[in-house]
Structure formats: structure tokens, C-alpha cells
Subunit: 331 residues, 2 copies
């Protein structure tokens, strides 16, 4: 079956689409209220975020837009130290979407939501003209424990920067798919609950967390240097990129420091807890390749906001955020 | 300036777009956290909802996609008796969006958010190929007082149905805009806070609230008859349609009972409070034309789920939900 504009009318066809494809896959008690808003119990501090997903292709090695749209929003909640709880999803379907493909994507969303411990509690579907594209918006709510306070502004002099794994896998996967190049690279798209839980449960005084998505590690750390009013120094030799991604990026003249991931984070941790934090991340799911890659300096305020790469040959290179186009529609 | 794919890269151009257009217009303390999630205080029961907006044209008499996307989500929260508090917005911009138009739309969002008493606390922007279209997803969170319990399942035998005003204005506005017909019809898009607050503050035991959007009054009430396991009887002579909308719909062979609105609700109220509720709605903003249009029957279980129109000439007509296409992209 193909989606038509009738599926966006709000009438019978819309109802059938929702019943057949969405409600079955996402079934839970809150969603089954099927009213204008879902009502959920609440008490603690709330984290709230939103993200739209327009990735092309819709399905790629290691994932699809469904897994991606859950991971992206779950990870954004985790980066404030929140326990992700509830997700809403808004589908914008272009005419001609194949409902078999839509079912696969929705199944992937349901499975990823289960893995990440979140419930999909509300949804909306619109249909627009086009040729079978799918856009998904997810918004999320999570609860934060009283004693947790993680924020981009909290980095301190001497703090250590940890990255949870290799860079560039998701970006390289999307690019290879689009260029129809076959290789063994798969997307790293994953929910990072276990890493964040391990740090908090392990008593680490986490200062900053940020997931490394569009713009890549350099863009993310440059922004953190700005919001933390500090210098961040990176050690080029410590930053890991898999040999496949390195070769692929080299061939195309891309810098893995600016390539996006969808299952990696940077953590900024007090120096005296850095080794313990590294061990906790390495033992957590999706954190086995974690490494210490740099540190925070606040001694020289003229350097505030700078991101400096200590290169393999001993030089110092100032890094800026991503300029220009990058690869569009990687998420 | 026109939007290009570079504005979706996550790098410098994205940052400038956010700073120049979104952050300025939506400025508030929570949004200015500018982190992966907004953190907000919380305590009560939470209502959560989402809606995507794909209306075309983007600007129309009486409103635009910006006003619409705030009203739609605010109204969905209100329909559960929640106080709307926080909104996230996800923008999907097609290449070629004119930034002057985007600024007007964003300004309209900010003004409508202020009118509706909500803060925009998180956002996301993606850019896709295309020809200047704008899609906006809004998700919302509101808090519900302990003693408020409004749900589609709560209708009782004898309850009275009130509609807050004339039908079909938004639908007719969009259709006329698209057909390039000039007339005096303007969209009814509006946030319904005052009507809902007045009912709750006035001590009305509101059983059910539902906003009358895609699919029109008939679709909404047919669905409510199903979820409330009751028959709903409507009095055709009581249902108000403005003369301009009536003429326009007549010309095109449309039935106002199936035409969408964006600033109207139906309330299901105990019979002994119906007149008091009607008075409260009429005195509230956007409720001046409210009318009692029907009642709920639970006496005959064979009739459960039916929507019956008592016609002008004394007949009884069974109404179904909207079949087929309706007018796509009205919201």
C-alpha cells in the first residue's frame, strides 16, 4: 500500500493508518489514552527536548530513521543527566511512502524505545505532496534527580575530556550509502543510557555531557569552550577513528573531527575522577572504545572559547566550528 | 536572504540562523540554557502532546503557520484540562525559504505563545531540498491540577454538548486562499485558554473537551460517541455557520460539519450545569458565539457509537467520520 493525501485528512484513512501502523507498534497504557494529550504522572525536575529527523536514505547499514529518531532525543535528555521517560512523535509523510517500509521503521522505533527505556505517549501524522520521503520529529521528557546538575557551563580548570568511542561512523555510513559505495562501515546510532547511568550511579561528579552529532567533535567542543568560558586542548594522537572510516574520509578529503556521530558523547570530568569515569564508560554498553582525549584550561582568559589541537607532530592548531555545508541530511 | 542546505549542517550557518531568527524571537530564561535539553521545574500531573503543521499557504487571512502551530498544541493540552506551560519547536525548512517570511512567522509564534501563556523552551532546525516550504512540529507539556479529570471516556447519559462558535472558518479560509478567491472569511485560529480556564474556575464538572480540527465537528463527535460508548444527538438548527462560510461551502458542495477549525472546541457538560457553562464560554475570549447543539444518550446500548443529526425538517441522519480526502494541508 502507498500513502496518499487522504491519509492526512483526519478522517477514516488517517484513523486506519494510525491503528494499523502506529498504535500497534507503540502500544502502551499512556498512548492508548488516544486523546488530545497524554497524561502522565510527574514530580521531579523535568528535562525537555525536540529533534526532527530528515536523514536520507531512510534505512542504512546499522540503523534507520526510526532508530535514529529515538536515539537522538533520548541522548539529548541524557546529556542533562535526565532519565528519559516519554517521547512524542510527529510523522510528516510524503505521498507515495511505502507502508511496508513505514512498518519496518515504526518497528525499529518501538524496539529502540524499549532498549532506551522510554514510552511513546503521543503522536501525529501529516501527509504532504512528494515522492515517498519520511520526516519524523520526536520530542522527549525526562526526570532529573535532585542532586544531579550537568550543564555546558560547569567545566572547571583541569577537567578531563573523555570521548566514548570512535568518530565519524554514522557520517561515513550515510555518505557511503548515498554514493552507493559498499564497505563494512555501519552507523553508531545508539541510546547512551548505560554510559550516563554508570557515571551517575558510580558517583562521578560529571560536569558536562554532550553528544557528538552534526558538526562533529570539533564543533561540539568549540561550542563547549565558548559556553564554559575555557580553553579546550585536544591530543590528536588520543582521538580514535576506525581504519575503515579513516581510509574512507581520507579518500574524500574529509576530516573525522567534523564528521557526525549518533551514538557518541563527550564527558567533562574532574581530573581526580577521570580514570574511574573512563573505566565506568568502557564497561558500559556502547562505551568500550572510550578514551581520554584532552583537558580544560581556565588559566589564560585570553584563550577562553578556544579549541586547540595538539597535533601528532607537536604543533598547535586552532579549530573552529564547521564552516559551510558539511553533509546535509545525516540525521 | 534565502535558506540553503548549509543552514542545516549543524555548523556556522546553522548557529547564525538560530541566533538571528529563533533565539531573539523566543527569548526566555529556559530556552537561553541552549543545551541539549531544557530543564524545567515540575511537580503535578503532566499532559504531553505533539502536532506537526504543514499548512499551505504559510500565511493566510487571520493567521499563519506560526500562530497555528502554537494554538494547535496549546489547545490539545487544554483539552485534558491542563495549564499549557512549555513548547518545543522543530523546524523543517526547504531550501529557498525566504528569511523575511520566516521572521514574520517566528514573530507570530512568539506573540501567540505570549497570548497563550506558554514558553518555547527547546528547538531544532533541519533543512531539506525543495522550494521554500516550511513544516513546523510543536510538542507541549502542561500541568494538571489534582482535582481535574477531563477525558473522552467521561460522557454521561443526559450530558449536553456545547460548541464554542461557528464552524468551518479556518477550512474555508485555506481553501479560498488556495483557490485565490477573495472574500471576507478569516481563519478562527486561536488559543482557547480563557474558555477552558473559565469553565474550570467556574466550578463546572467538565466531562469531555475536544477541539474541532481536521475532519470537522462530525468526525470529532463520532469519535467521542465511540470512546464514550454513547449516542450523540445533534440538533441541526442549533449548529451555527456564518453566512459567508455557508455560501462558500454551498458553492463548492462542502458540508460545514466536516470542515476543520483551529479555534473551536466542543464541551460535554452535565445537564444541570449546561446553561451556566454556556454563559461562562460566551463571556470568555473566542467563545462569544457558543451554543448548545446536542446531547448524550446512553439509554439504548444498540445505538452506542452513533452520531445522529436531527435535521431541520425533522428527520434523523446517521453521520459517519470524514471519508476520503477532505482538504489536505489545512493545518
Amino acid at each position: 500500500m502507498k500513502i496518499t493525501l487522504a491519509h492526512g485528512s483526519g478522517g477514516k484513512a488517517t484513523g486506519e493508518l494510525i491503528d494499523e501502523i502506529f498504535a500497534k507498534a507503540f502500544d502502551n497504557e499512556i498512548l492508548s489514552q488516544m486523546e488530545d494529550s497524554a497524561v502522565i504522572a510527574g514530580s521531579k525536575k523535568i528535562a525537555m527536548t525536540t529533534d526532527s529527523f530528515v536523514v536520507t536514505p531512510l534505512e542504512f547499514p546499522g540503523g534507520d530513521i526510526g532508530r535514529l529518531c529515538i536515539c537522538g532525543t533520548v541522548n539529548d535528555l541524557l546529556m542533562r543527566g535526565a532519565e528519559p521517560k516519554y517521547i512524542t512523535c510527529g510523522f510528516i509523510l510524503q505521498e507515495g511512502v511505502d507502508t511496508e517500509q513505514l512498518k519496518r521503521i515504526v518497528k525499529s522505533m518501538a524496539e529502540t524505545a524499549k532498549e532506551a527505556g522510554v514510552q511513546i505517549v503521543a503522536g501525529d501524522t501529516k501527509v504532504v505532496e512528494g515522492t515517498g520521503g519520511i520526516f519524523i520529529n520526536t520530542a522527549g521528557v525526562g526526570f532529573i534527580d535532585e542532586n544531579v546538575d550537568i550543564s555546558a557551563k560547569k567545566s572547571q580548570d583541569g577537567d578531563v575530556i573523555i570521548v566514548s568511542g570512535n568518530l565519524g561512523d554514522h557520517h561515513a555510513t550515510i555518505l557511503a550509502s548515498r554514493m552507493e559505495i559498499e564497505n563494512s562501515i555501519v552507523s553508531d546510532n545508539a541510546p547512551l543510557n548505560d554510559i550516563v547511568h554508570s557515571l551517575i550511579a558510580g558517583g562521578i561528579d560529571v560536569h558536562v555531557l554532550r553528544d557528538v552529532t552534526r558538526g562533529g567533535l570539533a564543533t561540539v567542543l568549540k561550542e563547549l569552550a565558548g559556553s564554559g568560558k575555557c580553553t579546550i586542548e585536544l591530543d590528536e594522537t588520543a582521538i580514535l577513528v576506525s581504519s575503515q572510516v579513516k581510509d574512507f574520509a581520507g579518500l574524500l578529503g574529509l576530516d573525522p573531527l567534523y564528521m557526525g556521530n549518533e551514538g557518541k558523547l563527550v564527558a567533562i570530568i574532574p581530573e581526580n575522577q577521570a580514570n574511574q569515569a573512563l573505566e565506568l564508560i568502557r564497561q558500559a554498553e556502547y562505551g568500550e572504545d572510550a578514551a581520554i582525549i584532552g583537558c580544560v584550561k581556565k588559566s589564560d582568559m585570553d584563550e577562553a572559547g578556544k579549541l586547540i589541537l595538539r597535533t601528532r607532530i607537536g604543533g598547535r592548531r586552532n579549530l573552529d566550528i564547521l564552516q559551510g555545508e558539511g553533509l546535509p541530511r545525516i540525521c
